[in-house]
């Protein structure tokens, strides 16, 4: 059913994140060897490494691309308590012939007092905005007011979550019916604050982010979180990687006119819960049309989940490792 092809990544240590650019022609990998590598897909369909450089003084946890409307821009976050923004500059013609490109650091964001665990760009309709979350429990939202000058970023919002944060996800919907919304997951084992997923919403009047919802039923540490692409639905779909795979449906409730100043109230329903990994689930991610959800867990497998039109069953394919085969066989 599936075929696999290997690329030797050449990192000197564990890879922690891989990110495709918007068009799927470039990819970035980051590693505990403190570097980021950028790969380009050639006309031959093969991947070539076009840049490799040291980005941080600690393990690099995540790397992510900005929308190409803003140019060729990457952001990375690291154990060294910083996040950084990188831009590709068009090099000398010699470099182009050799197939190499140069990335320079535009800014370092040093506000966090602890390891920065996730970095994500906000949806492009919000402008050029970067979000980080840290083990110190703070989500920080930065904005570059002049998109032509990537060295100027201002910290616009600091959201204190009271729990060590592990992951963030923006609601990709650009519909005017939904104000900007971000979900934050926590891997804190604190029992007092038991709801490990918080959802914050931007309020036009106060110009601040306010908590709209805490998913109280998610009490175990959360490792990854992902909003599904919206595709014209009126409700939101959120996938969570915790001790199992959970998919929530968030239905915005109609506002009464008296309450129009507060954040949207949601009706929260569980759409699905899969425990086939039988262990901790570490990553979840939607494909572009939100028809497939991929999850990976402690069992060393990546599972693909597909929602069927009957909405009550899901068929599943499984990808896993095997030992002992020759590389590339």
């Amino acid at each position: 059913m599936f075929v696999a092809k290997s690329i030797a990544a050449d990192h000197k240590d564990l890879i922690h994140d891989v990110s495709y650019d918007f068009h799927g022609r470039r990819m970035a990998t980051c590693s505990s060897d403190q570097s980021v590598k950028v790969w380009d897909k050639g006309d031959d369909g093969e991947w070539h490494c076009t840049a490799s450089w040291k980005t941080h003084s600690g393990s690099v946890w995540r790397v992510t691309w900005a929308h190409p409307e803003f140019g060729q821009v990457l952001a990375s976050c690291s154990f060294d308590r910083t996040a950084a923004v990188w831009e590709e500059i068009v090099g000398e013609s010699n470099d182009k012939q050799r197939g190499q490109s140069h990335w320079i650091k535009r800014t370092t964001l040093v506000d966090s007092r602890t390891s920065v665990t996730d970095v994500k760009f906000a949806p492009k309709h919000m402008g050029l905005m970067l979000t980080t979350c840290s083990a110190d429990g703070v989500v920080r939202i930065y904005e570059a007011p002049d998109v032509m000058n990537l060295s100027q970023w201002s910290l616009q919002h600091e959201i204190s979550c009271k729990l060590s944060c592990s992951c963030i996800s923006w609601n990709p919907s650009s519909s005017r019916a939904h104000p900007p919304m971000i979900a934050v997951g926590s891997d804190d084992s604190n029992v007092t604050y038991s709801g490990k997923v918080q959802i914050y919403e931007y309020n036009e009047n106060t110009r601040k982010y306010a908590k709209a919802e805490t998913l109280m039923t998610v009490t175990d540490p959360v490792h990854d979180i992902a909003f599904a692409p919206n595709l014209g639905r009126s409700f939101h779909v959120l996938a969570i990687a915790t001790k199992d795979v959970r998919i929530f449906k968030l239905i915005p409730m109609r506002r009464e006119s008296a309450n129009s100043s507060g954040p949207t109230k949601f009706e929260v329903q569980v759409m699905a819960q899969f425990d086939s990994h039988n262990s901790q689930v570490w990553r979840v991610s939607w494909n572009i049309t939100s028809t497939l959800l991929a999850s990976s867990g402690d069992d060393g497998c990546v599972r693909l989940w597909k929602g069927q039109p009957s909405a009550h069953s899901a068929s599943c394919w499984l990808i896993t490792w095997t030992t002992g085969s020759a590389p590339g066989s």
């Binding site: 030797a8 990544a9 990110s19 190409p68 990808i319 030992t323």
Partner: protein, 649 residues
């Protein structure tokens, strides 16, 4: 807990070693990137250099021959969507049947080409790959054909069996080859396959052809010729229902029973006892199940067995009764030990008229959505999905078509076909298209324009803007200012246009000339997008007028740039310096009023705060320029006053 209704199939990824515990992944266009990692970060870590694996569904989209299938079926699909609703249903049925046949002929053409390639290729692995694809297409065509017979043509009792016979005949072509071989041999009756051929033909209900082959035998043996004549008569008399004829089904049934009784009598009388082959044939004609099962090898499939069994026991079978015979035929034929394959289950579901199950099983069994999407679409047009299952109807059709089209989108040229499919999905087609068309890699300008045209045709303004912005940004990065500017204009992005105009002007002051003159000279109303752009356009126009020696027009334009505040302050000095050659012409170009205006512009400039960063040298240059200008303006003023004061005689 959700039910997982199919056991997941496992794909094993060969790793270079099994050092890390976890798999990380990232979705890509049409594939998944998978890599070893460890999310827990405690415990031993390996020093080996890790790999990233690209995992892809093993899809036929990559095969050039199958691409033809996608292209041609796309045409049929689009044609089908255009069939008007108001045509009466009887005519529509024949239209749908013919469309179904079109699809099938496309499948067959593709199959034949693959088969040829499989035979002619040198490479072993490629040959087996082709072979696999041929088998899959064969199965697809078999299923489609059966669906056409049962659902689209929906033949009633009587015709149903005839259609099923056709279906079986079409998919068991080796009979013809063998028959030809036997007939063309020197002594057909002695051929080792002789009786196999006769029996095969009888099993398929091809009595005339069977008689033809039998006649070869009869001519040899004079003494047994009566037996052969008897068989010949039996075969000749076998009633075949004629749907176009005047005979009703009941009348046919009566006639058939008579004939059946006669065959039975022959058996009871041991008429054919002298020839075991003829005896076998007679038993077949009577529909003896054990005898039919003995012909397992010739029948080769349970559905052939089913149709033959029906032919000789129940030729007036009604559609609702099919499933009982289908199930029992499959059980009898396969026996207790063998288990049915996916294809068998699918065919059985079709005989049971369970459309939903057919579609579901096909979706799971096949690698590609092509088949289920097109078949379901056709069935939906025949209004068959609604009646079969209320939950689905056109939602199922749309879901499958969207899945298929989304898969096409990842391909570098087939994505254009996908657009038409999305267009015909009323509920989600547009939003799916908006989402996916943005992701088409804009490798070349031509491709970008193709994508743009699709978006513009559908008023997808946000996508248009975004694509143009991406192209403009890319052009700017590569210093292709003209391209960047034209993309910004197309994106209607005023801010970016301003930025690029400034770059143009910077370029001009560095190099002394304009680039991309074609573009700048033909801006037209687009110039109004941003102030800076307007200035750039007009400034270039000034230079053009000057070049064409239309001095007074040039002069007027230059002045208006300053007085109408189109020009930014920072560039006034440049403009005034540009005025110098006009001032120093022998002829007076600037009028008195115009000269006064120029003078006041110059003084306004000087009144502004001095730039503290200017070096002494710069200040010197500035003041020299100012002096020169004042002198030139004064001289021009004098000449202008004189000119205007002079009365022409």
């Amino acid at each position: 807990m959700e039910e997982v209704d199919v056991e997941p199939s496992t794909t094993l990824i060969p790793g270079a070693g099994f050092h890390q515990k976890h798999l990380g992944f990232e979705w890509g266009p049409g594939d998944l990137l998978v890599y070893e990692t460890n999310y827990k970060l405690q415990g031993p870590r390996s020093a080996s250099s890790p790999s990233v694996h690209v995992v892809r569904r093993d899809e036929d989209i990559c095969s050039p021959i199958l691409r033809k299938l996608f292209n041609e079926s796309h045409l049929i699909f689009v044609g089908l969507q255009k069939i008007k609703e108001d045509v009466p249903s009887k005519n529509k049925k024949s239209q749908f049947v013919s469309i179904s046949k079109n699809y099938r002929s496309v499948i067959r053409a593709c199959m034949e080409e693959l088969q040829q390639n499989a035979v002619s290729t040198q490479e072993g692995s490629l040959a087996s790959q082709y072979g696999d694809q041929v088998s899959i297409l064969l199965a697809i065509e078999l299923i489609w054909n059966l669906c056409e017979v049962l659902f689209i043509d929906a033949a009633p009792a009587g015709s149903l069996l005839l259609h099923l016979l056709d279906w079986v005949r079409l998919h068991k072509s080796d009979v013809d080859t063998r028959a030809r071989e036997v007939l063309q041999s020197d002594s057909p009756a002695q051929h080792q396959s002789y009786w196999d051929v006769v029996i095969s033909l009888v099993l398929q209900g091809r009595t005339d052809e069977a008689r033809q082959v039998l006649s070869k035998q009869a001519s040899l043996r004079a003494e047994s010729s009566s037996v052969f004549k008897r068989m010949d008569v039996l075969l000749q008399n076998m009633p075949i229902f004629n749907p176009a004829g005047t005979q009703t089904l009941t009348e046919f049934d009566v006639k058939w029973r008579h004939w059946h009784e006669e065959c039975d009598r022959c058996l009871q009388d041991n008429t054919f006892a002298s020839n075991r082959h003829l005896e076998t044939i007679c038993k077949i004609l009577v529909g003896d199940e054990d005898t039919l099962l003995e012909q397992r090898e010739l029948l080769s499939t349970w559905y052939h067995f089913l149709v033959t069994r029906l032919l000789f026991t129940h030729p007036t079978i009604k559609p609702p009764d099919l499933h009982y015979y289908a199930q029992s035929s499959m059980n009898m034929f396969l026996g207790p030990r063998a288990s049915p394959e996916p294809l068998d289950i699918i065919l059985l579901s079709a005989f049971e008229f369970d459309l939903h199950q057919v579609i579901k099983d096909c979706s799971i069994a096949l690698n590609n959505w092509w088949f289920v999407a097109h078949l379901t679409d056709l069935l939906d047009h025949c209004k068959l999905l609604q009646s079969h299952n209320l939950h689905f109807g056109s939602n199922l059709r749309e879901f499958l078509v969207l899945e298929y089209a989304s898969g096409l989108f990842t391909h570098h040229s087939l994505w254009q076909l996908a657009v038409d499919y999305f267009d015909h999905c009323p509920e989600f087609g547009r939003v799916y298209l908006e989402l996916q068309i943005e992701r088409v890699p804009l490798d070349t300008e031509r491709k970008a324009i193709k994508v743009l045209r699709i978006c513009e045709d559908r008023q997808m303004s946000e996508q248009v803007r975004s694509i143009c912005k991406i192209m403009a940004k890319r052009a700017l990065r590569n210093n292709r200012l003209g391209s960047a500017l034209s993309w910004s204009i197309r994106a209607k992005d005023a801010a970016f246009a301003t930025l690029i105009s400034e770059r143009f002007l910077q370029d001009y002051s560095n190099k002394g000339f304009f680039t991309d003159l074609d573009l700048l000279d033909n801006l037209g109303p687009a110039m109004l997008l941003s102030d800076r752009l307007t200035f750039l356009g007009k400034y270039r126009e000034f230079h053009r007028l000057y070049g064409e020696k239309r001095f007074s027009e040039a002069a007027r334009l230059l002045l208006s740039l300053m007085t109408a505040k189109i020009a930014p302050r920072s560039l006034w000095m440049t403009l005034l310096t540009d005025a110098l050659p006009l001032l120093e012409q022998k002829e007076v170009i600037f009028s008195v009023d115009q000269t006064y205006e120029l003078m006041s512009c110059l003084e306004e400039l000087n009144l502004g705060t001095k730039d503290s960063n200017q070096t002494d040298q710069d200040e010197d240059i500035e003041s020299t320029k100012t002096e020169l200008l004042r002198l030139a303006l004064a001289r021009n003023l004098a000449m202008a006053i004189v000119k205007e004061g002079t009365i022409e005689t």
